[in-house]
């Protein structure tokens, strides 16, 4: 009886909901659910594979749910030990790079947004131009290795990721929302520009710092490109994602090459070990991201407006 009343009430509330709305909504739930499942399936398969017995993988291929569950792959990665050094390196690069990059980007963003700063247009253009025209990979590679001598140096990974013109423009857009009166009031109190920036502006930029800091941190955590350019086999500890790249691709290269025929396949990492590496390299960012997602969303929406 109570149920019937509730149904009546709900149908009463929905009286304006026409057939077309129901079609759209019904289709929406089905489509979005399907799409979300597609997004998550590859991750489930990777995790499953990392827990599956190697023999089973060889015989039956990778499965959606783990079969013959074993921790063998993780034990092997832990025994190898190399991945912990990669973790340490990646964490150090991420923390140092994010802190340094964030300091520079926020200072620059504030200065370039100050109305009374006569050089703001010139410097803004100087920075923006770098996104319009670039020298390309070969001149960059030659400069980094032959002029700066950064081959096999961690600085070749740390420095290029510190900032981008896009991040500075993003910061300028955040600063724009802070009223100029704040700066004026600081001036009246006799504070210098640096003092105004540190004690008045920075506290108001917290959401911006969180957003841009996360973009920077994600860049460092996922970095593999600069490593692939500048860190040769002489460097034993490499950033996490590039270590993963090497683990996975070396095996395939060995298998595909003619020489591979003489390589003992049991000696090289197997499917489950590769996937265990992948899970370990990605785990932290996936665990963290539901909590930081909102900062990314604010960054994307603010960044979509031009600088």
């Amino acid at each position: 009886m109570a149920n019937k009343d509730k149904d009546l009430m709900e149908s009463g509330a929905k009286v304006k909901l026409g057939t077309s709305d129901r079609i759209i909504r019904g289709f929406g739930y089905i489509f979005v659910t399907f799409y979300a499942i597609c997004c998550i399936i590859p991750f489930v398969i990777i995790v499953s594979t990392s827990f599956t017995n190697e023999v089973t993988i060889r015989a039956e291929g990778v499965q959606f749910l783990p079969k013959d569950v074993t921790l063998e792959a993780y034990k092997m990665v832990a025994r190898g030990g190399g991945i912990w050094w990669s973790y340490l390196l990646t964490i150090v690069l991420t923390v140092v790079g994010t802190f340094l990059g964030l300091s520079i980007i926020s200072m620059t963003g504030y200065a370039l947004q100050r109305r009374d700063f006569p050089f703001r247009n010139a410097i803004s253009f100087y920075i923006y131009f770098t996104s319009l025209f670039s020298a390309g990979l070969a001149p960059y590679y030659l400069l980094m290795t032959q002029t700066y001598h950064l081959q096999d140096s961690y600085f070749a990974v740390l420095l290029p990721l510190l900032m981008s013109s896009w991040l500075i423009i993003l910061m300028k857009n955040f600063v724009k929302a802070i009223p100029h009166e704040i700066t004026e009031s600081g001036k009246i109190d006799g504070a210098g520009d640096m003092k105004i920036f540190v004690s008045l502006i920075l506290p108001m930029l917290k959401p911006a710092l969180a957003t841009i800091g996360l973009f920077l941190a994600l860049g460092y955590w996922n970095e593999w490109y600069q490593s692939s350019l500048f860190l040769s086999s002489r460097v034993s500890v490499k950033p996490l994602q590039y270590t993963l790249y090497e683990v996975v691709n070396k095996v395939d290269a060995l298998k595909n090459s003619v020489a591979g025929q003489f390589v003992d396949l049991s000696e090289i990492p197997q499917e489950s070990v590769k996937m265990a590496n992948a899970v370990l390299a990605t785990g932290p960012i996936v665990m963290l991201y539901p909590f930081v997602q909102k900062y990314f969303i604010s960054g994307i929406t603010v960044g979509a407006v031009k600088g």
Binding site: C39, F43, V62, I105, L162, N222, Y245, Y289, I300
Partner: protein, 310 residues
């Protein structure tokens, strides 16, 4: 009495605004070191480079490095691949993003909206290396997930890694998989910004769901769509290196349909150490890209100054 800003000489301005200038110095030095310093190195595209003499000591050969690229059709092939992939990415990417954003907006369950958005965003957070691994894990011949299903159904195994023709479709799907969560955020935000009263009024006037989408939501998304398409058009000769390199890698069988400017330049630099060819292709790409941005911006400025990039 302080002088007005416009009356100051250059050096007086420097002195008065020294703190703000100093705040910009690290960034200015950074872009000088990593973006301006490589520019003179473009010269390597015009010489016969050897290590001993360096870029500026090597023999000048004019356009010789470009000649082979142009006459062999290599440059044209690379440009074609790069642009066609980008067109597919841009059009389908934006279409799907708008589509998903509109559907999300129609959902009533807040919980469902939140969870599905979080899941759709997930592929954006992972490294391109992992994307390559995910794809390989699904598609490889020996142990791939797809082939496991095909085998259990009694069907023949599929070998995408030796079939160049399937990759244009696969790469577009993978791109959409990775980017749609991200792309739909901007559209979703602009739908949320639509005046709620207008929507209510439309409902009261008896507009059905399709009509609201057609006459209110889509028109109010138009500026955002146009801006994002223009941004994308400016980068139409820039390829998504991470995606292509991690998925296709160095598998020559697939080059016909998957080699873009970036992957070619990377191999020329890092595998062949052929800095002349790499630099020639890179310069060609930069110049074309620059011209396209300028033309797009010029046209936009004429039609709708508010949308122009600069």
């Amino acid at each position: 009495m302080k002088k007005r800003k416009s009356e100051l000489t250059f050096w007086q301005k420097v002195v008065r605004y020294k703190t703000l200038l100093l705040m910009c110095v690290p960034a200015v030095v950074f872009f000088f070191m990593f973006n301006y310093m490589p520019l003179p190195g473009i010269w390597v595209a015009f010489v016969k480079y050897n290590y001993r003499d360096g870029i500026f000591g090597s023999k000048f050969v004019g356009l010789q490095n470009f000649e082979f690229l142009a006459t062999s059709g290599k440059l044209l092939d690379l440009t074609k691949n790069t642009i066609l992939y980008n067109i597919a990415f841009i059009l389908l990417g934006n279409f799907l993003a708008v589509f998903v954003a509109i559907l999300l907006n129609e959902m009533q369950s807040k919980m469902f909206k939140k969870v599905s958005q979080t899941i759709m965003f997930l592929p954006y957070f992972i490294s391109q290396v992992l994307v390559g691994i995910l794809v390989f894990n699904l598609l490889n011949y020996d142990t791939g997930f797809v082939n496991g299903i095909l085998t259990s159904l009694g069907l023949e195994k599929w070998q995408p890694y030796s079939d160049p023709n399937v990759w244009p479709v696969l790469l577009v799907i993978i791109y959409l998989w990775q980017q749609t969560g991200y792309n739909s955020v901007v559209y979703f935000a602009s739908i949320m910004g639509i005046d709620g009263e207008m929507m209510e009024a439309a409902k009261v006037d008896g507009a059905n769901g399709f009509q609201r989408i057609r006459y209110i939501i889509l028109p109010s998304l138009k500026p955002t769509i146009v801006i994002l398409l223009l941004f994308a058009l400016g980068g139409i000769v820039k390829g998504n290196f991470g995606l292509f390199y991690n998925i296709v890698g160095t598998n020559p069988i697939l080059y016909d349909t998957t080699d873009i400017i970036e992957t070619y330049v990377y191999r020329a630099t890092m595998t062949d150490f052929n800095f002349m060819t790499a630099s020639a292709v890179g310069l060609y790409q930069s110049v074309i890209g620059f011209v396209i941005v300028m033309v797009v911006n010029y046209i936009v400025k004429k039609i709708e100054p508010d949308y122009s990039l600069f």
